[in-house]
Amino acid sequence: MEDKPKLDVPTPKLDELEKGPWPSFVTEIKRAATKSAMARDLVRQVEQSYNDRVGHWKHGGLVGVRGYGSGIIGRYSGKAEQFPEVAQFHTVRVNQPAGWFYTTKALRELCDMWDRHGSGLTNMHGSTGDIIFLGTKTEELEPFFTELTQKGWDLGGSGSATRTPSCCVGPARCEMACYDTLALTQDLTMEFQDTIHRPAWPYKFKFKMSGCPNDCVSGIARADFTIIGMWRDAIRIDQSAIPEYLGFEGFDLRRDVLDKCPTKCIEWDGKKLSINDKECNHCMHCLNVMPKALRIGKDTGATILLGAKAPIVEGALMSSVLVPFMKMEPPFTEVKDLVQRIWDFWEEFGNNRERVGELVTRVGLANFIEAIGLEPNPYMVMHPRENPYVFYDVDEAAE
């Protein structure tokens, strides 16, 4: 195991967090502290926080770069006299490449820039997906931003803006991908650039793109607008690949696959595997267990879900299906039009700091879909088989 970095300041409380089998953020900050005065004062301040049992960050005024309304989050030390190097310790969000693919050259470029302009500490990546650069002074923001943009990078979103769209690795590395998540993410990022950098919304708006219902970016629980890859024809079955699975030690086709199918729509007659695709609810289980034998269908696109939020304190919301199936091919006009219609409605009727999902709950799904020009559909529900919404016109029903 690599030696723990030694600092000339005692940090008995933080040292506890270096024990155990897992990598420790404390070790990493201490390592940075051997080179960076900011990281050194950060270690000292955090130790102080553990002693005092209180965080020592405070508000201290707006910071940003000229021409942008988001991407930088101001942070100030409440103990600036004691820890002067972290008196200002702002966070910078940088738009990550789609799918988080980097060359080592790009990573070195980013880290070198941050060593020059900030504490050298990074968080790869934040929960929105951005590259997070932790800790810089106000005077370094403009020079850093100039260098960053000259090298072809840009800031991400923060606050009441469209947040930096993010996606799974998609077709670049995964055979489950039903559409090109990377292409769509790049396209939305460029198209909606202005709304990322110049906040005009009632609150945050997050896009997440997953290539299939495995939803590796957890959009369904976190994003306002999630695009999940989907197929609408049959799962492709390679019968010749099944015997190999049957030969695996410990593998039991009935126990591990058939009985775990939530709709019991997959069968094995001893020779042939068959799926009743009409009943398949695309849970991905069988495909995940037997990826050599089972593949997603050929008629692919995506399901669009709306309205999740995952706050720390209270009121988590999961997404609901908004569009059961949409083809997802460049130039992605249909999905972009839908986004604009949703924004028009939310921007006009959303209260300050009300996420789009909360607005839909407040006004009712039926009113919302009518306002954005979608036809009601029985798939627009959380649990189709248990709790169907019924759409009817009161006057028509009375007749």
């Binding site: 201290g60 005024g61 707006l62 309304g69 906040p199």
Partner: protein, 214 residues
């Protein structure tokens, strides 16, 4: 959209901006986006346009007021540097729309990045509603001694607009201040000497050079 709005603002085609804003919801978003621009004149002109909209279409402006106020707070994760200007112009045009937020920006007198615009907003609101800003006169007087020319000049300008009384001794040192600052008035940026601002604030007329358009 933002580029087109910027062009219209630079050409002072406010009527066209109002027409657009009434027709297309995206124009109002564009008007928010312009508020982050690096060009001070453009941001001021956008605030003027928001003020005009507050008169002609109050319903379309109302929902933006709490958003603008929230963006002044560093917790918002945004940089609402245009907010003090818009809030002031809307309050001047239609106090009913801004009554809940009109004093919010006065809480940000310690935020150096915002201060010049906060002072401008106080001056604009104070000119038509002097009673509303009486509580912050003492804070403004303190700023007359600020090391930054922009701040002491703008504080003097705001006190003058409000018509504040009892400021003679605090403002006196500025009567010898030869530095000039830029102030947005009559839809243009004017370069004005601090000395002449101080004279105006004290009601001394006819001895300073006339403001020249910058």
């Amino acid at each position: 959209m933002r580029e087109e709005l910027k062009r219209l603002l630079l050409e002072r085609r406010f009527d066209e901006i109002e027409m657009k804003a009434l027709k297309d919801k995206k124009s109002l978003r564009g008007m928010m986006a312009v508020l982050y621009d690096a060009d001070d004149l453009l941001v001021h002109r956008a605030a003027t346009a928001w003020g005009r909209l507050a008169l002609s279409s109050p319903a379309s402006v109302r929902r933006f007021m709490s958003r603008l106020a929230w963006q002044l707070n560093d917790e918002s994760g945004n940089i609402g540097r245009g907010s003090p200007l818009v809030i002031a112009e809307v309050a001047r045009a239609n106090m009913e729309l801004a009554k809940e937020v009109v004093l919010v920006s006065t809480h940000f007198l310690e935020d150096r990045g915002l201060l010049k615009r906060v002072l401008w907003g106080i001056g604009r609101v104070g000119e038509v509603h002097p009673a509303l800003v009486q509580d912050i006169i003492e804070d403004l007087k303190m700023l007359l001694a600020d090391a930054e020319a922009d701040i002491r000049g703008m504080a003097a300008w705001a006190l003058g607009k409000i018509g504040a009384k009892g400021i003679e001794s605090s403002i006196a040192p500025l009567l010898d201040d030869e530095r000039s600052i830029t102030i947005y008035e009559n839809e243009i940026m004017n370069s004005v000497s601090i000395r002449s601002i101080a004279q105006k604030a004290l009601g001394i007329t006819g001895c300073g050079p006339a403001p020249s358009a910058a």
